[in-house]
């Protein structure tokens, strides 16, 4: 009997428990069924996956209390305690979508974000160097995007009716003064920095974030690279010079350092490309930089970038007022820039970004009136000839400190706040023909505090609210700049945005010191945008209205130079812009088209009344096409830039009327320029090549189309001379080699 009980007990013990059927339907909060959801009884094998109709069903031999869990990528997990018995369970579940960066609407009004990580990538470093009209210059590439003007006679970005001084450039959060090489009359200079320094760029043509200030029109935000992928050395040889550098990545891949040096000498370049100016000092540039980057334990990064460059150039142009005299201009420049910054995770959703930068700039400019034998001439009757002999010596120092704290709230909601402090000391001595010196020093301490929050109401609706407070010692007043933008994403993934903001700016140092107390100049931006982004295509259309007030008006100071005298200037700008980029329709072809319509008038500087400024064209368009032919390992790039003629004016002071008047005006011919470049990559695809070479041939203005940027007038206004590019075409040939030092094997050996 005992044995019987024993066997029975054993039998019961081994007999499987009764099965429970669990089924149901899983949908999102809107009731749309979700397929592929994993449904599981936690800590058991039992579970199932929903079909395309969201249905699931499974049986379990478990009993008692268990947790039913439903998980799907991109959704918040669901858990519910259930009791398993013999009765079937029917459980319908609704899953809530996670607000994720990939799916969420991007607040993008006014901004072109370009980085390899970002879905909205518009232009990255490769795009910049393969845009033929840009010649490897960062800001020139942005001239193929809508909102910018095709200004060729001076450097900088002229955005939506704004002058170049209204666009500021930031590197890792710090303002970069003297981003461009010092100005030379009638010749646009290049940006100082190599596009490959940067991982991402954000070009905002308006309505930008409260994190940035002191720019009425636009900001270009450059984010430097983190650690390089590997240790690499490179060498470049071209018709304009030679350069080389090394980037060394530590074995543990936690730090890196690098140095590079470039020597530019345009002797050969100018021999190939005849310049209209008579260069008595061929442009020569020495440029060195150094960097280090260290990854911190908490996943942050400390980065240093230091730069030093010295350059000189000098050229003669025929003097506009006389038949045989010449104007000789020369400049020597020494510039240094140091930037160290730190970003880190502080835990609990807090991040910090901090940085300091220091830069110096020294310009020594000499302008002389010379005779046919290149001898200096001081002619005092009429006296305006004498004023053509002058010297300008600029010594500037800038320092900046900046801290931004960021706290991630639930979902993608973020608040950011911080402060920056900017010190500038700009000494300028202007020396007249007779040796009279007019020294002037402009010092400023600019303090700002700012706060901003990204608020995601849903995955489809987001707002960015921000504000910025600034105090400049120069103006000795506070300004308050609110910034607001809203974005809504449609079910087809296209999105609409609106943005509004107030922007303040101090006077440019070229019109300082001022002859009166000044206030900030101000612009209000209103932007409407629609865009549709896929990984292969971008379409956007943007309309804007910009209202300028308190712009600076100038008068002639005792040294005979224009200096800021009042805030009585004003103006406005409105327009519509289109952008289309497509990498899909044609195989191995990437092209983009931009078009901008601009209607603007302003009264500022010495303008007698509100006129369309000479840097604003009504219609601007650009087309860039890039095709890579795989079997030839060669890329062909073409760009075409077009703009309608820009107005030009002769503005002169009328002694009788005691005011400025326009004595002559006109419009330049339309601007057309087609540029072409070829890149040949012979080592492409070789497994572990020792050398990776890129050969480049580029021709600017292939068709040799006539380009007139503006007109210069003689002193009496009887003669005008067109301002044209220094050469009809520019042909560039170069070879860039990189030597990858593959340390994969070392890395493995060290890690095992």
């Amino acid at each position: 009997m005992k044995k019987l009980i024993c066997l029975a007990a054993l039998f019961i013990g081994l007999k499987a428990n009764a099965q429970t059927k669990i089924s149901g339907r899983i949908a999102d909060v809107k009731g749309k069924p979700l397929g592929g959801v994993s449904v599981a009884l936690k800590n058991t094998y039992d579970g199932s996956t929903t079909d395309s109709l969201g249905n699931y069903s499974f049986t379990s031999t478990e009993t008692g209390k268990k947790v039913l869990e439903a998980t799907l990528v991109g959704f918040r997990s669901f858990e519910q305690e259930i009791t398993l018995g013999s009765a079937s369970l029917h459980i319908n579940i609704s899953l809530k979508e996670l607000v994720t960066e990939l799916k969420a609407v991007v607040i993008s009004a006014g901004a072109f974000v370009a980085s390899d990580k970002n879905k909205g990538a518009v232009l990255n470093a490769i795009d910049i160097v393969t845009t033929p009209s840009a010649n490897g210059d960062v800001t020139s590439a942005f001239k193929t995007l809508p909102g910018t003007q095709q200004v060729g006679e001076s450097e900088g970005l002229f955005v939506r009716g704004g002058s170049a001084t209204e666009s500021k450039i930031y590197m890792d959060g710090n303002l970069v003064n003297n981003f461009f090489y010092s100005s030379t009359p009638g010749i646009a200079t290049r940006g100082r920095f190599n596009p490959f320094l940067f991982r991402g760029t954000i070009f905002s043509s308006g309505g930008y974030s409260a994190l940035y200030g002191q720019a009425l029109s636009s900001v270009l935000v450059l984010e430097s690279k983190d650690l390089p992928d590997r240790t690499e050395a490179d060498l470049g040889i071209s018709v304009v010079g030679i350069g080389g550098g090394i980037q060394k990545l530590a074995k543990d891949k936690k730090s890196s350092w690098g140095v590079s040096y470039n020597y530019t000498n345009l002797l050969l370049g100018f021999a190939i490309n005849k310049q209209k100016q008579d260069f008595f000092q061929i442009p020569v540039y020495h440029q060195g930089d150094a960097n280090f980057r260290i990854k911190t334990k908490s996943g942050g990064m400390i980065k240093y970038y230091g730069y030093i460059s010295g350059n000189k150039t000098g050229f003669r142009n025929p003097d506009i007022d006389s038949a045989s005299l010449k104007d000789a201009f020369s400049i020597e420049n020494l510039n240094t820039y140091q930037n160290i910054n730190w970003k880190d995770n502080l835990g609990n959703g807090w991040r910090i970004y901090a940085g300091i930068s220091y830069s110096t700039n020294k310009d020594d400019i000499v302008n002389e009136l010379q005779d046919a034998a290149n001898q200096k001439q001081v002619i005092t009757t009429p006296v305006f000839y004498a004023f053509k002999n002058f010297k300008v010596n600029n010594r500037a120092q800038y320092a900046q400190a900046r801290v931004v704290a960021e706290k991630k709230l639930n979902g993608l909601n973020v608040i950011r706040f911080g402060s920056d402090y900017f010190y500038s000391n700009e000494k300028s001595t202007y020396t007249l023909y007779d040796g009279t010196e007019f020294p002037g020093t402009v010092k400023d301490n600019l303090v700002s505090v700012f706060a901003e929050s990204d608020i995601y109401i849903t995955n489809s609706l987001a707002a960015k609210l921000g504000g910025r407070l600034e105090h400049s010692e120069l103006i000795s007043k506070w300004n308050v700049a609110p910034r607001v933008s809203l974005a809504y994403k449609f079910p087809d993934n296209s999105q609409a945005s609106v943005a509004y903001g107030l922007f303040y700016q101090n006077p440019d140092r070229r019109i300082l010191p001022a002859t009166a107390n000044l206030d900030y100049s101000r612009a209000a931006h209103y932007i409407l945008q629609y865009q549709k982004l896929t990984s292969q295509r971008t379409f956007r259309v943007e309309a804007f209205y910009k209202k300028y007030s308190d712009l600076y008006k100038t008068s002639v100071n005792i040294a005979g130079r224009e200096s800021a005298a009042s805030n009585n200037g004003f103006g406005d700008a409105k327009g519509v812009e289109l952008f289309w980029r497509d990498k899909k329709t044609f195989k191995n072809v990437d092209y983009w088209i931009s078009y901008s319509y601009l209607d603007t008038k302003r009264d500022f500087l010495n303008y007698p009344y509100a006129i369309t400024p000479s840097f604003a064209a009504n219609h601007t368009a650009a087309l860039v096409i890039k095709k890579f032919v795989l079997p030839w390992k060669t890329g062909f790039n073409l760009s075409y830039n077009f703009a309608t003629g820009r107005p030009y004016y002769r503005i002169a002071y009328d002694n009788a009327q005691t005011k400025y008047v326009i004595t002559d005006a006109g419009k330049t011919i339309n601007y057309n320029s087609m540029s072409f470049s070829v890149n040949y990559l012979p080592n492409l695809g070789k497994t572990n090549p020792k050398v990776f070479a890129v050969w480049v041939l580029g021709i600017n203005n292939v068709l040799g189309q006539n380009q007139v940027f503006n007109y210069n007038y003689s002193n009496d206004g009887s003669r005008k001379v067109p301002v044209t590019p220094p050469s009809k075409r520019f042909i560039f040939i170069g070879c860039f080699l990189s030597f990858g030092i593959d340390r994969t094997q070392d890395a493995i050996n060290n890690n095992l």
């Binding site: 054993l10 994993s38 800590n43 492409l684 695809g685 497994t687 493995i748």
Partner: protein, 213 residues
């Protein structure tokens, strides 16, 4: 009675224990067998991935369950039409293989999987991502070969990558063939540690080689 109780306890405990491991083995074998037919219906890969993940989380210390869950996700990314959604699935695979890695460090199969995940990420935008992920794919395969020189899969994956790389980029049959052949030689000698250890890819290598004839 005491004897009976003792007997009962021993029987139940041993039965329970062996049931547990039999259950694990059986569940794994079932699901592994299903991977082979899953290419007819890619959505079933997600079901299998979920099955493996349930086993993995219930067992807690079986790296193979995490490994197969990751494998199913990665195979699924290769079938996805909407490339923009690949990253999320590949990230899920990374989370799973990282758990396998913590249970079984320095494993050649796990390094292979990491290389496959990097390929998935690269497919989203090969032109832009080549620099970053190309390097990763290659260094994980190097690691996998180092960790177990007899494993045929690193060479299979490398050979497959080469075969589908255009000749101008140093790929094509000519460069792929010796690598694939070496992989096949290793497959011919390869003995999996158990019925449920990775033992896939041989047919595919034979197919790739036949393609290159």
């Amino acid at each position: 009675m005491k004897k009976c109780m003792l007997f009962l306890a021993v029987v139940l405990i041993t039965a329970g224990a062996s049931a547990q491991s039999d259950k694990y083995m059986a569940a794994m074998k079932n699901n592994i067998a299903a991977i082979d037919t899953s290419f007819k219906n890619p959505a079933s890969l997600l079901t299998l991935a979920n099955n493996f993940e349930r086993i993995a989380t219930a067992e807690k210390n079986q790296w193979l369950a995490y490994y197969y869950a990751a494998l199913c996700h990665v195979n699924y990314t290769y079938t996805m039409q909407d490339k923009s959604k690949i990253d999320a699935v590949a990230d899920k695979a990374t989370a799973l293989i990282d758990k396998a890695d913590s249970l079984q460090p320095n494993n050649s199969e796990i390094s292979c999987m990491k290389s496959m995940i990097a390929s998935s990420h690269m497919m989203v935008n090969p032109m832009q991502r080549y620099m970053e992920y190309g390097q990763e794919i290659s260094s994980y395969l190097d690691a996998a070969m180092q960790q177990d020189p007899s494993n045929p899969r690193p060479e299979y994956l490398r050979g497959q990558g080469l075969k589908y790389t255009p000749e101008q980029f140093g790929g094509g049959c000519a460069t792929a063939k010796p690598v694939l052949q070496s992989s096949l030689d290793k497959y011919n000698k390869f003995k999996p540690v158990s019925d449920i250890h990775p033992n896939w890819g041989k047919q595919r290598v034979e197919m790739l080689l036949a393609d290159c004839k």
